[in-house]
């Protein structure tokens, strides 16, 4: 699982940063990868099926909710890595995490959008046409 997510987050070698090796060595890729996968499924499922709000069925509402879930994953990913590396006293600066944060945010946004637009909106009653 760690190998798989490392390839995904490192874009198959195209996105190596100073903390990439540490993210792999400490198994953070797999942990955060699972968190991202879970959140990108759970949030659309809740929004479209369990909640399915009639008053929040405009594209802007969808965008806020999906953006918030991507932000949540990014925050979790960053804080988890930051705490782990600080504990191990690896001496990384905030700038070293920037690539990891950006990658996480983009991937979360992409996956939550794919799951909501291509899968979960079709099980909705009030938001089937949201955002497209």
């Amino acid at each position: 699982m760690n190998d798989f997510f490392s390839k995904v987050f490192e874009l198959w070698g195209g996105n190596i940063s100073s903390i990439s090796d540490s993210l792999y060595d400490y198994g953070i890729y797999s942990t955060i990868g699972m968190v991202m996968f879970f959140v990108c499924i759970a949030i659309p499922l809740i929004y479209y099926k369990l909640w399915d709000p009639i008053g929040l069925n405009k594209p802007k509402h969808w965008a806020i909710i999906m953006f918030s879930s991507a932000l949540f994953v990014t925050l979790v990913g960053f804080l988890y890595a930051f705490n782990e590396f600080n504990y191990e006293d690896l001496g990384f600066e905030f700038f070293d995490y920037l690539s990891w944060i950006l990658t996480l945010f983009l991937y979360s946004s992409l996956f939550v959008s794919i799951f909501s637009i291509l899968v979960f909106r079709f099980i909705s009653t009030n938001n089937r046409k949201n955002p497209v």
């Binding site: 009639i54 008053g55 069925n57 909705s124 009653t125 009030n126 938001n127 089937r128 046409k129």
Partner: protein
């Protein structure tokens, strides 16, 4: 569905207003045990405002009904037909009934005066003297095109012509074995008070040979006679005086006791209703100005028609033109309040009308307040049948449905403004949680809120559309609103 038709004679202005109330009840989906309702309006006052309003509403109802199917929808479900549209029983070659619409003419009343109708000038002196004893000069000179102005003594002569008319023969030839007849009239006016016993007599003892004479004689016959429930303002120039309403009612009741009930047993069921709380309407002798506000007595009278149709056949047996077990019913409200709500109706009445009228009113509120153009909601654009704004300018919606709904709202508002008032709904505002007067709706949602409005309404429409089969636009539209309002009632109101 039942296979029996209801022939509904509505006599005079009160008869028309009760028919109007019945039409609105049927539009809301109130169930009646009849395959068709055939209204027959009898009123010589051709310009009568109440009659013309009722005919307009009936025509709109028919136009709407003919365009809808009824897999999921009960709004406008019961067919209302003209006599002309029926085929004579057992005679497929018979020409259509002369009268194309709902109102039946009475020969000799279009123009001319009462004296002309009875050929007063041709009478010999003894008969002239007798007639002059029975009728005043103003009676003799009365113009018949405005009705009888509260004089049943005139009405009884004039309306006799109806029972000898081709229209009556056409009715007789279309009455089937299982069909029923119901007569609506007031007891304190002119046309109804005269026409009711005449009609009963000519059904039970036809003066001339009718098609299906025995079937007509033995038909199941019900009636409601409506006692005074409004007055008219004093006017020395008018021939109508509310001071005579009670005495006329007493005289009529005495006649009915001897000639319609008692040993006579002409009627299978006779309903009575009236009210002690009255409003004085403007004293209009007829024609277009006679346009009385709707009254809850008329709505409850319409319920008597539904009640009559629900009585099993074995309780309405007729042998040789006499009812074997005549039924007599009056109506009482729960709590004598000047302002009635649904809770003031008896349980049976409430069961008959509360849900259906509520559903229909929710639908009407959405159409008139929230549907200037279609919203961007799944129920509008999901599925093969999508709604375009052009639908709202088509005849079905803009000419028929919305116009009908405006009359319905007008009817509700008139009943609210009358005395005794009936206000089942609060129609102002956009919050729908308090639309039903006197009923607290259920709290819903995580936050346990009672308040809801058109946003939540869209959710019900989306849910209703979700599982709906494909229909063409008009049917999808009506089915959607019926299902959505049914779910609203189930979710938020039903116990």
């Amino acid at each position: 569905m039942s296979n029996r038709k209801l022939f509904l004679f509505c006599i005079g202005g009160t008869g028309s207003r009760v028919l109007k109330a019945l039409t609105f009840l049927l539009a809301s989906g109130v169930k009646i045990d009849a395959s068709q309702v055939i209204p027959i309006i009898i009123d010589p006052d051709r310009a009568n405002g109440d009659v013309n309003r009722t005919i307009e509403i009936l025509q709109k109802y028919q136009s709407i009904h003919n365009k809808i199917s009824y897999e999921h929808n009960r709004f406008f479900q019961t067919p209302i037909a003209t006599l002309n549209s029926l085929q004579a029983i057992g005679n497929n070659n018979e020409k259509k009934s002369k009268t194309a619409g709902f109102r039946f003419g009475i020969d000799g009343t279009k123009d001319g005066r009462f004296r002309d109708l009875i050929d007063f000038e041709q009478l010999d002196p003894p008969n002239k003297a007798l007639i002059s004893l029975l009728y005043s000069k103003s009676n003799l000179d009365a113009e018949l095109k405005v009705g009888f102005k509260g004089n049943p003594n005139m009405g009884s002569v004039v309306l006799n012509k109806f029972t000898q008319s081709q229209d009556f023969i056409d009715f007789a030839s279309r009455l089937d074995q299982n069909d029923r007849v119901f007569i609506v009239s007031s007891i304190f006016g002119g046309t109804g008070a005269a026409g009711f016993p005449l009609l009963v007599k000519n059904i039970r003892e036809p003066q001339k040979k009718l098609p299906n004479t025995e079937r007509v004689r033995n038909t199941k016959l019900g009636a409601i006679t409506i006692k005074p429930y409004f007055g008219v303002a004093p006017d020395p120039t008018s021939k109508i005086d509310k001071g005579t309403f009670i005495s006329k009612s007493k005289a009529a009741l005495a006649y009915y006791a001897n000639n319609l009930s008692g040993d006579n047993k002409s009627l299978n069921a006779l309903y009575y209703i009236g009210d002690t709380q009255t409003t004085d309407y403007p004293n209009n002798e007829g024609e277009e100005a006679q346009k009385n506000h709707a009254h809850v007595v008329e709505m409850i009278s319409a319920l008597s028609i539904i009640d009559f149709m629900s009585i099993p056949d074995e309780k309405l047996e007729v042998i040789d033109g006499k009812a074997t077990k005549p039924i007599f019913r009056e109506y009482g409200i729960v709590e004598n309040s000047p302002n009635l709500r649904f809770r003031n109706l008896g349980n049976k009445s409430k069961l008959a009308v509360q849900q259906t009228l509520t559903q229909f009113t929710y639908a009407v509120q959405y159409w008139r307040k929230n549907l200037k153009k279609f919203p961007q909601e799944p129920w509008v654009s999901r599925g093969k049948t999508k709604f375009e704004d052009a639908f709202l300018s088509q005849d079905f919606y803009s000419t028929d449905l919305i116009q009908f709904c405006m009359r319905y709202v007008e009817w509700l508002e008139e009943m609210e403004q009358n005395q005794r008032s009936f206000k089942p709904f609060n129609l102002e505002g956009d919050l729908l949680h308090n639309m039903i007067a006197g009923i607290d709706q259920k709290k819903k949602g995580i936050l346990r809120k009672r308040e809801w409005g058109f946003t939540q309404y869209e959710g019900y429409l989306n849910a209703a559309e979700r599982d709906m089969a494909e229909y063409e636009p008009i049917n999808k539209f009506m089915n959607l609103f019926y299902k959505a309002t049914e779910k609203i009632y189930e979710d938020r109101i039903a116990n």
